[in-house]
C-alpha cells in the first residue's frame, strides 16, 4: 500500500510560500492513500496555470494538457478506459474562461470524472489578471478600475447544467477537503469541486483570513444535498458567509453507461482487429 511519501516526486516545488495549492496537493495525496488507490490507476489531468504544476509534484499518471482543455482530455481518457480513476485539476481561468465551452457539457453528460477547480479568483501564472471568478470591484492589471462584471458562479453553473455532484471546499480546512474529495472520487458521475485556494502573491483580497472568517460547513448546518432547490439557494450565498461542503448529489447513468461498446468493459482492453469488415463491405456491393 502506498503512503503519502510515495506520492512525491523529485521535482522542486516552486509554488509561492503560502500558496493554497499546497493544501490541495496534500489533500489529494492523503485521499489517494486513504482510498487505497494505486499510482497507475489514477490519471491526474491538469490545465495550464499554477495549478497545472500538479502533475510534476504528484507521482501518479499525469497529463499536463493545454490551457482550458482538461475536460475533453479527461473525458476521452475515461471513455477509453473506464477502469481508471480520472481526476481533472483546472484553474478558474482555465475552467471558466478559455475552457468554459466544455463545462456545461461535461456536467450534463455526467462523465464519471472528478473535476477540481483551483479557484484562486485570479490568473496566477500569468502574473495576476482578473479571472472569471474574481469578485466585482476587484482591481488587477486588466481591471485597474475594478472588475465590473458579476463573477461566474461555478456551483450554480454546475447545478444548472445538471451536474450530479456539486461541492465546494477550502484549503484552509484540510479535513473537510479530504472528506469532500473522497466523496467526489467515489461518486459515480461528474463531480465538481470548487476549491477556495488563496493566492497570496496576486490576490490580496481573498486570503486565508478572508475565507476563514466566512466559510461554514453545510454538513453542520443541516443542508439537504438531495434537494436541488436548496442546493441552488446555497450556491448563491457569497458574502459574510460562504458555505462549503456537498451542495448536491444525484444518481444518474453516466456518459459511458450509454455507450453500447463500454458494456463490454474498458475499451482499451477489448480485442482489436476482429471486426468483420467483409460484412460491412457487403452493404456496398
Amino acid at each position: 500500500m502506498l503512503n503519502v511519501k510515495d506520492l512525491g516526486t523529485i521535482v522542486k516545488n516552486t509554488w509561492c510560500p503560502g500558496c493554497g495549492n499546497f493544501g490541495i496537493l496534500s489533500s489529494v495525496k492523503q485521499v489517494i492513500v486513504d482510498l487505497e488507490l494505486t499510482r497507475e490507476e489514477i490519471v491526474a489531468v491538469t490545465g495550464i496555470g499554477c495549478h497545472g504544476k500538479f502533475t510534476d509534484y504528484v507521482n501518479v499518471n499525469g497529463i499536463h494538457t493545454i490551457h482550458g482543455r482538461v475536460l475533453p482530455v479527461a473525458t476521452a481518457i475515461k471513455l477509453s478506459n473506464i477502469d481508471l480513476t480520472v481526476i481533472g485539476f483546472a484553474g478558474d481561468g482555465d475552467a471558466f474562461n478559455i475552457g468554459m465551452g466544455h463545462f456545461p457539457h461535461a456536467c450534463r453528460r455526467n462523465v464519471d470524472i472528478t473535476y477540481i477547480v483551483h479557484n484562486n479568483q485570479i490568473y496566477g501564472l500569468t502574473t495576476g489578471q482578473t479571472s472569471p471568478t474574481s469578485m466585482q470591484g476587484y482591481k488587477s492589471k486588466t481591471t485597474p478600475r475594478g472588475n465590473q462584471d458579476p463573477p461566474i458562479n461555478p456551483l450554480a453553473l454546475a447545478l444548472t447544467s445538471n451536474a450530479t455532484f456539486v461541492a465546494r471546499t477550502f484549503v484552509g480546512e484540510l479535513k473537510h477537503m479530504n472528506m469532500v474529495l473522497k466523496e467526489a472520487i467515489n461518486h459515480r458521475g461528474f463531480a465538481l469541486i470548487d476549491v477556495l485556494q488563496p493566492c497570496p502573491s496576486w490576490n490580496r483580497i481573498n486570503s486565508y483570513k478572508y475565507y476563514m472568517d466566512r466559510v461554514y460547513k453545510l454538513e453542520e448546518s443541516g443542508h439537504d444535498a438531495e434537494s436541488f432547490t436548496d442546493a441552488c439557494e446555497k450556491a448563491r450565498e457569497w458574502d459574510d458567509k460562504i458555505p462549503i461542503g456537498i451542495f448536491y448529489r444525484e444518481d444518474r447513468p453516466t456518459y459511458s453507461d450509454g455507450m453500447p461498446t463500454l458494456k463490454k468493459g474498458a475499451l482499451v482492453k477489448q480485442p482489436v482487429g476482429d471486426v468483420d469488415l467483409k460484412k460491412l463491405l457487403g452493404e456496398y456491393s
Binding site: T55, D56, N61, G62, L79, M259, V275
Partner: protein, 583 residues
C-alpha cells in the same frame, strides 16, 4: 460480366438527375449507380448541391461504363428531371440524341426548350405516386424505373436494392416496386429511340462507396476504437457512418461540443492507448491546430482527416477545393514533424487511412489525411477492398513494464521514439507533458534539456521519411515514354486518369504522376520532371506546384488551376494537355 453500350458518343453512359433539394436527388443517383454496378457497370457519381436543405437546385451526375470510370462527365445522355427547372438548367448539357425523362405535369412555354435532337419522355411521376398512395418523394422512384428502361437496365436490380434497403417494411417495398415497375412501363410504351443496350453480367466483386465511407472503413480496418468529430461538411458522413456502426465495430463514437473538444478527446483517447481519430473541414481544422501541436509535443499518435472545401472562412460549404495544403503541412505553432497523406480514390482512402494509423503509432506523431469534397462525397465503384494484407503495427506501445528502471515516457532512444505505456500499465507511471520536458516528463526550461528533447523528437525524421518512401508516395500511371506528363494529387486523380485514356485515343502519349504524401515530401519526383509537364490543381495558388518547386527547384511552365468549387472534368484536362502538346 458483359456490358454493351451502343449509340452513345463514347463508351460511357451518363445520367443527370436533377431536382430540388429535398426531392431525393442524391438517393436516386446512388441507388441507380448501385444497380448499374450490379449489372456489371463501373460507375462514378457526383452530387452537386448548394448549402441548404430544401428548394435549391441539386443534381447528380452518374456515369457508367464497361470499363473503369474515374470521374463524372458534365454532359449526359439522359436527363432525369424531377422538376421543370432541371429540364431548363440541364438541357444544354445533353449529348446529341439524348433523352429527357420528366414529369408529364410540366409544360413548357414555346421557345423554352429548343433542342430538337432530343427525345422527351413525359412520365406521370406525380400521378403514379398518387395512384400507388405513396409519399410525394416517391416520384424519384418512378423516375428511376423510367431511367432503367431507357438505359436497358434490368429493373429487378433496382427492386432488389429497394428490398434490401427497406428490409422488414413490406408496404414500403411494395409501393416502391410498383413505382419502379410503372415508371419502367411508361418508357417501354414509347417507341423509344435512345439506344443503350446493357447486358447484365455476373455480379462482380465490386463495391459502390464514397470516400468518406472508405476512410471510415480504413479506420475500422486499423482497429480505431475512438472517433470524435463535430459535424462539418464534407466530413460529416464519416461521423454518421461510424456512429451507426458503433456496435458492430466496438468503437466509441461521439459528437462533442466543438472541434476543439473533438481533437482534445482524440488526443486523450490516444493517451489511454486506443487508436483514435477525428475529422473535419478547414474551419474546424483551424480550431484543432492547438490540439495538433499538443499531440506533437506530447508525442501522441492521432489521425485527423482534413476534408477540404473552398475557403477562406465559411466559403462554399458544399463544393470542392484543394486549398488547404499549406495549412495541413505548416499549420501549428512550434516546430514538429507530421505526416500529411493525400489519397486520390476510394481504395486509397481505405488503405492510406489504415496506414495512417500505423504511421502515427510507429512515430508517435499526428497524421493528417487530406481529402476534399470531390473525393469523399462522390461515389465510385471499386474492387472490394483487400482487407487481408494490412497488419496493425502499434510501434512501441507497451502495456506492461517489467523493467527495473523507472518508466520514462520520453526516454532518449536512437530513433527518437520512446516506449509508450498505456495509461494504467502496472509499474509504469506515465507523465505526458505539453511544456518542454525531461525524459521523465517533468517540466524543464533548461537550455541543454530543451535542445536535447527537441533533437530527440527530430531524430524520428529520417525514419519517418523511410517509412513514407515504402508506401509509394509517388504513383505513376500511363505511358513510360510520354509526350506530356501530368501532375496532380487527391481528387484530381480521377479526371486526370479519365483524360489520359481519352488522350491516348487521340494519339497523345501521357503519364500521370500522383503525389500521395505531401509531408514529408517524397524524394523520387525529380525523375519525372522532364519534357512537357502540366500541373492540375483545384486551387488558385498551386500548392503542390509550390511544394515541388521548393523541393526540387522545378517550376511548372504549364499549370491548370480551377477554383470555382467544381472538380475538373476530363475534357478540361484533355484540352489543356492538347494545348501544351501542340504548342
Amino acid at each position: 460480366m458483359i456490358v454493351k453500350c451502343t449509340g452513345l458518343i463514347d463508351d460511357t453512359v451518363s445520367v443527370i438527375i436533377g431536382g430540388e433539394a429535398g426531392q431525393g436527388v442524391s438517393r436516386s443517383g446512388i441507388l441507380l449507380g448501385k444497380a448499374l454496378m450490379r449489372a456489371g457497370f463501373h460507375c462514378y457519381g457526383r452530387i452537386d448541391y448548394p448549402s441548404l436543405i430544401r428548394g435549391g437546385h441539386n443534381f447528380y451526375q452518374l456515369r457508367a461504363s464497361a470499363r473503369e470510370v474515374h470521374c463524372p462527365s458534365p454532359r449526359a445522355d439522359i436527363l432525369v428531371a424531377l422538376n421543370k427547372e432541371s429540364v431548363l438548367l440541364h438541357i444544354d448539357d445533353l449529348n446529341p440524341e439524348g433523352g429527357v425523362i420528366y414529369d408529364e405535369n410540366v409544360s413548357f412555354e414555346s421557345g423554352e426548350v429548343t433542342r430538337d435532337d432530343l427525345t422527351f419522355y413525359p412520365i406521370p411521376f406525380t400521378n403514379i405516386v398518387k395512384e400507388i398512395g405513396g409519399p410525394t418523394i416517391m416520384r424519384n422512384t418512378v423516375a428511376l424505373g423510367s431511367a432503367a428502361a431507357l438505359i436497358g437496365l434490368d429493373m429487378n436490380l433496382l427492386k432488389d436494392i429497394v428490398s434490401e434497403t427497406f428490409k422488414g417494411r413490406d408496404r414500403i417495398i411494395e409501393m416502391n416496386h410498383e413505382a419502379i415497375q410503372r415508371g419502367w412501363q411508361k418508357v417501354i410504351e414509347f417507341d423509344y429511340s435512345f439506344k443503350c443496350g446493357v447486358e447484365a453480367g455476373e455480379r462482380p466483386e465490386r463495391i459502390w462507396v464514397t470516400g468518406n465511407e472508405a476512410v471510415a472503413l480504413g479506420a475500422i480496418q486499423a482497429g480505431c476504437k475512438f472517433f470524435a468529430a463535430y459535424p462539418m461538411t464534407p466530413a460529416s458522413a464519416a461521423l454518421h457512418y461510424l456512429i451507426a456502426h458503433e456496435e458492430e465495430t466496438g468503437m466509441v463514437v461521439l459528437q462533442p461540443e466543438s472541434e476543439i473538444a473533438a481533437i482534445c478527446m482524440t488526443v486523450g483517447a490516444s493517451f489511454a492507448g486506443v487508436r483514435a481519430m477525428t475529422a473535419t473541414s478547414g474551419g474546424g481544422f483551424a480550431l484543432m491546430i492547438e490540439g495538433l501541436s499538443f499531440s506533437a509535443m506530447t508525442e501522441t499518435p492521432i489521425v485527423t482527416m482534413l476534408a477540404q472545401r473552398p475557403g477562406p472562412s465559411t466559403g462554399l460549404a458544399t463544393y470542392t477545393a484543394q486549398a488547404d495544403l499549406f495549412f495541413a503541412v505548416f499549420g501549428g505553432h512550434g516546430e514538429f514533424q507530421r505526416i500529411v497523406v493525400a489519397p486520390g480514390d476510394m481504395e486509397e482512402c481505405f488503405h492510406l487511412t489504415a496506414e495512417a494509423f500505423n504511421l502515427a503509432d510507429r512515430f508517435q506523431i499526428p497524421v493528417i489525411i487530406l481529402t476534399d469534397k470531390a473525393l469523399i462525397e462522390n461515389h465510385k465503384t471499386s474492387a472490394t477492398f483487400d482487407t487481408s494484407s494490412y497488419k496493425i503495427d502499434r510501434g512501441k506501445l507497451v502495456d506492461s513494464w517489467e523493467s527495473n528502471e523507472e518508466y520514462l515516457r520520453y526516454k532518449f532512444t536512437d530513433d527518437g521514439v520512446s516506449p509508450r505505456a498505456v495509461l494504467g500499465t502496472e509499474n509504469a507511471v506515465v507523465l505526458v507533458q505539453s511544456n518542454e520536458h525531461t525524459e521523465r516528463g517533468f517540466v524543464t526550461s533548461k537550455p541543454k534539456a530543451t535542445k536535447e528533447m527537441m533533437d530527440k523528437r527530430f531524430r524520428k525524421v529520417p525514419h519517418i521519411r523511410d517509412a513514407v518512401e515504402q508506401l509509394e508516395p509517388v504513383k505513376v500511371y500511363g505511358d513510360e515514354d510520354p509526350d506530356v506528363t501530368l501532375f496532380g494529387w487527391g481528387s484530381t486523380k480521377g479526371p486526370v486518369l479519365e483524360a489520359i485514356g481519352m488522350l491516348s485515343k487521340k494519339g497523345v502519349k501521357t503519364r500521370f504522376v500522383q503525389v500521395r504524401f505531401m509531408e514529408p515530401f517524397p524524394s523520387g519526383i525529380t525523375q519525372y520532371l522532364e519534357g512537357a509537364c502540366v500541373l492540375f490543381e483545384t486551387n488558385r495558388s498551386a500548392g503542390l506546384g509550390t511544394l515541388i518547386k521548393f523541393n526540387t527547384g522545378f517550376e511548372f511552365q504549364h499549370v491548370a488551376l480551377k477554383y470555382d468549387g467544381r472538380p475538373f472534368f476530363a475534357d478540361e484536362i484533355v484540352d489543356k494537355v492538347m494545348e501544351v502538346w501542340t504548342c
